[in-house]
Every structure is written in C-alpha cells, then in structure tokens.
Amino acid sequence: MFISIFGAIEAGVIYAIMALGVYLSFRVLDFPDLTVDGSFVTGAAVAAIAITHDVSTVLATMLALITGFIAGSVTGLLNTKGKINPLLSGILMMTALYSINLRIMGQSNIPLLNQSTVFTRLSDIWSGLGIDTTLNQGLSAIGASSLPRTWSILIVMLVVTLVIKFITDYYLKTEVGLALRAAGDNEKMIRSFSANTDHLKIMGLGLSNGLVALSGALYAQYVGFADLNMGVGMIVVGLASVIIGESIIGTKSIMRTTFAVILGAILYRIVIALALRSTFLDANDTKLITSVLVILALVIPKLISTHKESKRKRRKRIALQQRAKGEV
C-alpha cells in the first residue's frame, strides 16, 4: 500500500510538469491543444533514442524539451498562419506526431532498463549522501513495514518541478508573459496594444509542449522504456490534473493555480493507484477512471455551489417568515 502510493507520488511529480504545460495552453492561452498526446511521446522517444546512442542523459532530456517546443510551435503555426481552428490544429499535429515518433524510435518500444538514465545517474550520487537511510529509519520508527528503494527520484523531481513552477510564475508576470495571458483572454485588446498575437500563441504552445515533452522524457527514464502508445489520453490526464487541482486549491492567483496543478497531478496518480487496488478494476480501466475523475471534478463543485445557494435562500425565506410571525 505505502509503496504503491509512494510510486504514485513519484510519477505524479513527473506528470506535474506535463500538467503545467497543459495549464499553459488550456488555461492561459485558452487553447484546447491535443498535440499533447503526441508531444509527450516525442519527448520520450527523443530522450530514449539519444540515451541509447550514448548522448549524456541531461543533454538527451534537454533535446526532448526542444523537440517538444518545435512540435508545439508547429501547432501554433497551423492555427495562426494556416487559420486552422485550435482543436483541429492539435489533432492534425497529434496524428502527424504518431508517425514522426515511430520514425524517431524506429520501433514501437525502446527499453531503457540497462541504460544509464538521469535517475540511475542520480541514485549513484544520491546513495553516497545517506539521506535514504535517515528517511527510511524515520519511516520504520513510525511503523512502516515496506520501505521505498530510494527517495532520490521523489525529492529531486519535486525540486525540479517546483523550479519549473516558479519560473512559470515569474514568466507569466513579465511583460511578455502578461501579453501572453492577454492573448488568451482578449485577443483584440492586446493587438490594440501592439502585441503580435500570432507570435505569442506560437511561443506559448511551444513552451507548453516543451514542458510536456520534458515530462515524457523523464517519465520514460523513470519507467525504463519509451513506447509509441504511452501518450494516448495524456491530454485528459493533464486536464484532470488541472481541473482537480483548481477545484481543490482554487485559482486566486497564478502562483496558487500552478501549485494547484502540481497537486492535482499527484492526486490524480494517487487516486488511480488506489482505484487499481480494488478487485474489480485493472490497468485497462485507467482511461475510464480518468474520464470519470474529470467529470466528477467538473460536476461536483457546481453541485456544491448550487446546493449552498439554495440553502442560503431557504434560510432567508424562513427568517423572513419568522419575522412576519413575530410581528403579528
């Protein structure tokens, strides 16, 4: 139980980078970008191929990010210069990427089990630090029976994801970032303040898919393989993270929302891990569970607020009636 939740949190923190990318396109640019399903795999594919060709793991991961940026920019070009609607631009790019990813990989699955990845490199350095022993001693002291193999992935990925979060927060408050947000909010207005909305959108989608591909590259190294189909439904996973996080944490400010998105991604993985432990659900049901989660996260907050509202009104009515009685 503990180990499976621990694993879910690890994967969630890696997925959170993808979710931040989806937040950029879906919320900031108001662009429902389906490129994500393809660019996640592109990231995994580029990293896997680079690593199996003895490129350094960090460089391989960066290459994935850049390739994702290019893929997203093409979606942006299709939409802005080709005047193709957002949904269709994303679908076209996602479909094209399926073949491109296969070209990059040369086969539909690349195992990375015996390769050195960012995470194996990391645990080499990490094991010398003695942090694992300390943390695990703490865990066994509070009575945990099974202990995680290493804390390095969780802790380092948490730091990486938070750094990306803070860079995103900062970026969205810069002059360029403000213009990007305005382009998603009121395009006509920001054009009247001399911003090139086409360029902003292309850049925004590039950044978004760069993050998605980075997440894909890290995920492939985490699970030890890249697979052509590992991106199927990824956009819904990203949306699930954004929506779950937002409905729990709220969207008061950018910093808060990006935090919500990260937490949403982790929660999403935990819920899936818990659901899969039940006897009647198996791994093939993941996509169904994901969709149900998104639906619940969309519907429940609305139900709650309608319920609160009607309760408030009923209270008012009763108070009025009682006052009327008292006056008689």
């Binding site: 360029v176 006509k188 009247s192």
Partner: protein, 264 residues
C-alpha cells in the same frame, strides 16, 4: 498628423451582398485636432476607423501617420501609434488580469516587451497617479481583477489605458454608447479632460449629436460611405442640432428624421 487619402472599400465585391462601405474618403487631422464623427447607421464610420487602425485594409487609397505611410502595416504594429477605445466595455481590457497588470499591458504599447516583470514599484506609483485622474478610487484596487469592475469603471480604465502613453492618435468608436446616461456622462467628461490635458489628436464617433457639438474643435458627418459635412473652428462653436439637421436635408435632399438613432 493623420492623413487619409482617397480611401475606398467595398465588402463582398461581386456577390449579391456587395456593399460599398467607403467612397473616396479624404481626411486630414492636424496635431491636437479633436474631431467628432456623426452619421446614420451603416454610414461607414466604424469602417473608416478600422482602416485607420489597420483592422481592415482599404481597396485603394492610403493612410499616413506622422507623414509615414502605414496603409499596409499590420494592425498590431500600427497600434504603437494609436490608442483605441471600443464601444463594448468588455473589449478594451483583460478581465482575468488585475488593474495594474492591464495598465502594464498598455504601458508596453510603444516599447519592446521584455522578460522583466511587467509591474514594479516605480510603475505601480505611476499607475496609481494615473488612476487618480479618473476620480473613481481605482488607485486603491490595483490588484483587483478587472472582470469585477462595473462597465463604467472598465470603460474609464480602457480610456486611461488608451491614452496614458500619449499615442499619436486616439480613436473612440461610440465608447459611451453601451453605458447608462450617468456613466456615459462620466466617461464623456473624462474624455474631455484627458484630451484637453494631453492634446491628443482624436477621432470620436458618436450617435449623440449634443455630445458631438459639445466636444472637440471639428465635426464631420458621414453618410453612405462619404464625408458630407466638415465643420471646424468658429463655425463649430455656433452649431446647433437644428442647423445640423437642416444642413443634412440641404445636402441630401431628404429628412434625417426617420433615423432616430442619430439623435441619440
């Protein structure tokens, strides 16, 4: 300052919906001119403004700002010279962003946008003093989301955003028309104050004849894609609504009375 030379534009040419929106329009504004534009629905007023701002391209003719030809310059580039306020109070601001962030967007109009924070201490002080001039207390709500403001407040903010970087030209397209009378008066007064103080070269479309007479140093009337009347200086000061209606009848040989909208 602004020159519009022989502009014509026909929509949907060669189809049953063909509509000549502008015919050989010539217009010259000197620096500091404040021109009000009136005319019935469909006269081509908004189309003319859209051509000046670059939102539409003319079939023939050219537009010059500061002796520079800008006819084919894309809208987003041209807007570094042009401040605009639209009729819809929702159109001129970004609702999910705060007041200070909206002002920062406008502040970058004539500068290259960088990766430095859009709002800093110095700018915030500047924004505060600018907001002060609106007398709406918005200077105390810098980090409120603009979506929470009333239509009048949003329009006042739009007006400030369009003007506080001193653009070469200010274009106002019925920017008080969507507001209730008292709010409209507020925005009208602000417009007067701001234009007087900054001496912006301004073109303002209105359906309110009295407003067109009260404001500005020059008045033009458009009809069926043409400028049919252009009155400036002394003559504008003595102009009345009756005289305007009379002039229209003299030029067009028909009553303007059936178009009640023009009376505002």
């Amino acid at each position: 300052m602004l020159e519009v030379n022989d502009i014509s534009l026909t929509f949907n040419e060669g189809t049953p919906d063909e509509k000549q929106a502008l015919q050989d329009i010539n217009l010259k504004l000197s620096k500091g001119d404040f021109v009000t534009v009136i005319g019935s629905n469909g006269a081509g007023k908004s189309t003319l403004m859209n051509i000046i701002s670059g939102a539409l391209l003319p079939d023939v003719g050219d537009v010059q700002i500061n002796q520079k030809k800008v006819t084919m310059m894309p809208e987003y580039k041209r807007s570094q010279y042009i401040g605009r306020v639209f009729q819809d109070p929702m159109a001129g601001t970004s609702p999910t962003m705060t007041i200070e962030e909206n002002l920062a967007l406008a502040y970058s109009r004539d500068k290259k946008r960088s990766l430095r924070p859009g709002v800093n201490k110095k700018r915030r002080d500047f924004f505060k003093s600018a907001l002060n001039s609106l007398h709406l207390g918005l200077e105390d709500r810098l980090s409120a989301k603009v979506g929470l403001l009333s239509g009048g407040e949003r329009q006042a903010l739009s007006l400030l955003m369009a003007t506080f970087t001193n653009p070469d030209i200010l274009l106002l397209d019925e920017h008080t028309a969507a507001l209730d009378p008292s709010r409209a008066e507020l925005i009208t007064n602000l417009t007067r104050e701001i234009v007087e103080e900054t001496q912006l070269t301004t073109l303002m479309i209105t359906h309110n004849m009295q407003q067109a007479l009260d404001l500005g140093n020059r008045l033009i009337m458009m009809d069926k894609g043409q400028i049919i009347l252009d009155i400036a200086g002394e003559e504008k000061l003595t102009l009345t609504i009756e005289k305007l209606l009379h002039e229209f009848q003299r030029i067009r040989g028909e009553q303007l009375g059936d178009d009640r909208a023009i009376l505002g």
